[in-house]
Amino acid sequence: MKILVCISNVPDTTSKINFTEDDTKFDTNGVQFVINPNDEFGLTRAMWFKEKQGATVHVVTVGDASVEPTIRKALAIGADEGIRINAEPKDGFFVGRQLAEIVKNGGYDLVIAGRESIDYNGGMVPGIISSLLDMNFVNTCVGLEIDGNVATAVREIDGGKEKIATSLPLVIGAQKGLVEESDLRIPNMRGIMMARKKALNVVDAVDSPIPTADKKFERPAAKGPVKLVDAGNIGELISLLHNEAKAL
């Protein structure tokens, strides 16, 4: 089984988000970049398939050279080979189109992406890949078993879970729950050393429309101070919620 894990290089979850160049660009100054958390759950599951079922695992990121440390980290965790598509990931359709090209040419059986990237928050890339290539697709995936060509997945739905029967080739949108939090791996020295020797192939982007463009960013308006209600006067909270906030 050949697995491709799509990894988005995103600001660490503790990052303060600022904008620059007249609010037209994200300010990367002082920001630490990491593997998108949803993709890390996916990569961890891919490692399980590698170790238990002999799968080959490649990772891919669309981005400029600055994303390579993130790809190396995935290699240090255990992926066999890395691919970087040399282009700025401007829009979900564009990224999906680039990744679809890699999937098609590489003959992957399973494509693991994240449910959503925590920077762009598009939640669309895995769906786009699946649709461009006519592959089966399970989103918000919290369980995946594969036996030959047959896949059994669990999807998180509003208020519960859905068990799904499908087959390879398959795309999933991974999220928390796909693996246990305690299974996530921090690369060790040996992994880091080995990662240096693994292939990281850089490929050019293919032609694709870029149908959306972020023209300007904005930070959320500063919040007014909290209204504190005395613990001995809970009735007041209810009346504020009812009369002022109109929330009850």
């Binding site: 829009d91 023209k215 904005e218 504190l228």
Partner: protein, 322 residues
């Protein structure tokens, strides 16, 4: 030209977000001098959408579609957009709509912008405001494609009445076997309880509650309010509550009308995922807890005293306002 809106149903009845996205579609259509056509699957009372400005409903009745299937539904919506010549397609931000959104965007070659919080700032060029960076920022995004797809955030636009008479027509899309490559085998779902995605009110609790045995009062508070229950990440990691209740940047997003946080410190990853809620209340015994900086109302106090009393007072309030 019509603006096409996908209005979701659950067992034949429209979900609340269906009326929200219909209201949003009407706003867009008015800006563009167009009308609103809705597509719905197995809707029992399609005419209801008229209240929110929809003038035509393409109602798909097909037993194969009685349970949600992203690819088949996307296929139906794409065919409706084609039949209607729609250049703008509106979706909600529900898990189902997000599931089918990418598939549909690829089918229509559309520019798709999800998490949109306001009506288009202009329609030529077509520019919308969306959340980005997990609610830590907003982007003003231009869609430059023949077909534009907008995913409207929950509770961002609201329901706006705009009485029109809606004409319902049967619509029979061509759906093939390939669309059913993903089959639902079994659904395990709590019924009759508000879900985090749909609830007006979400009651959420954190590690301050000390252990799973103390969740009775959280559930009771949620019951009194008709609210969904949620929790912070460590609470689900510790197995005190199911993963599906974990909210925040790496859990479910919350965009409710009212969010009540009990014994939650307000870490940046937690706040990122819940800050889209309109009114936030925090109950915490540490006045320095960061959540107080992000909340609208707060009580500094011990949850084990405050919550039971809040439940009693809310019962009185509900009895008086029934």
């Amino acid at each position: 030209m019509s603006v096409l809106v996908y209005t979701e149903t659950e067992s034949g009845k429209f979900k609340k977000n269906a009326f929200e996205v219909a209201s949003y579609a009407k706003n867009v259509a008015d800006q563009m001098g167009a009308s609103v056509t809705a597509i719905a699957v197995n809707a029992e009372n399609a005419e209801e959408l008229g209240t929110y400005g929809v003038s035509k409903v393409l109602n798909v009745s097909n037993d194969q579609l009685s349970s949600f299937n992203a690819r088949a539904y996307a296929s139906a919506i794409a065919q409706a957009a084609e039949a209607e010549g729609s250049k703008v397609v509106i979706l909600s931000s529900s898990a189902d709509s997000k599931y089918l959104g990418g598939i549909l965007a690829a089918k229509l070659n559309a520019g798709y912008v999800p998490n949109v919080v306001a009506p288009p700032e202009s329609t030529a060029p077509f520019v919308v405001k969306r959340t980005a960076f997990s609610n830590k920022g907003f982007a003003h995004t231009e869609i430059d494609a023949e077909i534009k797809m907008v995913g409207v955030s929950n509770n961002a636009f609201g329901m706006v009445e705009n009485a029109t008479s809606a004409n319902s027509e049967a619509f029979t899309p061509n759906i093939g076997d390939a669309d059913f490559g993903v089959k639902s085998v079994e659904v395990d779902k709590v019924v009759g309880k508000a879900t985090i995605a749909d609830a007006d009110i979400v009651v959420s609790a954190g590690r301050g509650l000390k252990g799973p045995e103390n969740w009775g009062m959280v559930e009771e508070l949620a019951d009194v309010l008709g609210a969904a229950t949620a929790c912070s990440k460590p609470v689900s990691d510790l197995g005190w509550r199911p993963h599906g209740e974990h909210v925040g940047q790496t859990g479910k997003p919350v965009a409710s009308n009212l969010y009540i946080a009990i014994g939650i410190s307000g870490a940046i990853q937690h706040l990122a995922g819940v800050s889209a809620s309109k009114t936030k209340v925090v109950i915490n015994n540490d006045p320095e807890a960061p959540f107080f900086k992000a909340a609208d109302y707060g009580i500094v106090g011990d949850a084990f005293e405050v919550v039971p009393e809040l439940i009693e007072k809310l019962k009185d309030f509900k009895a008086q306002n029934a």
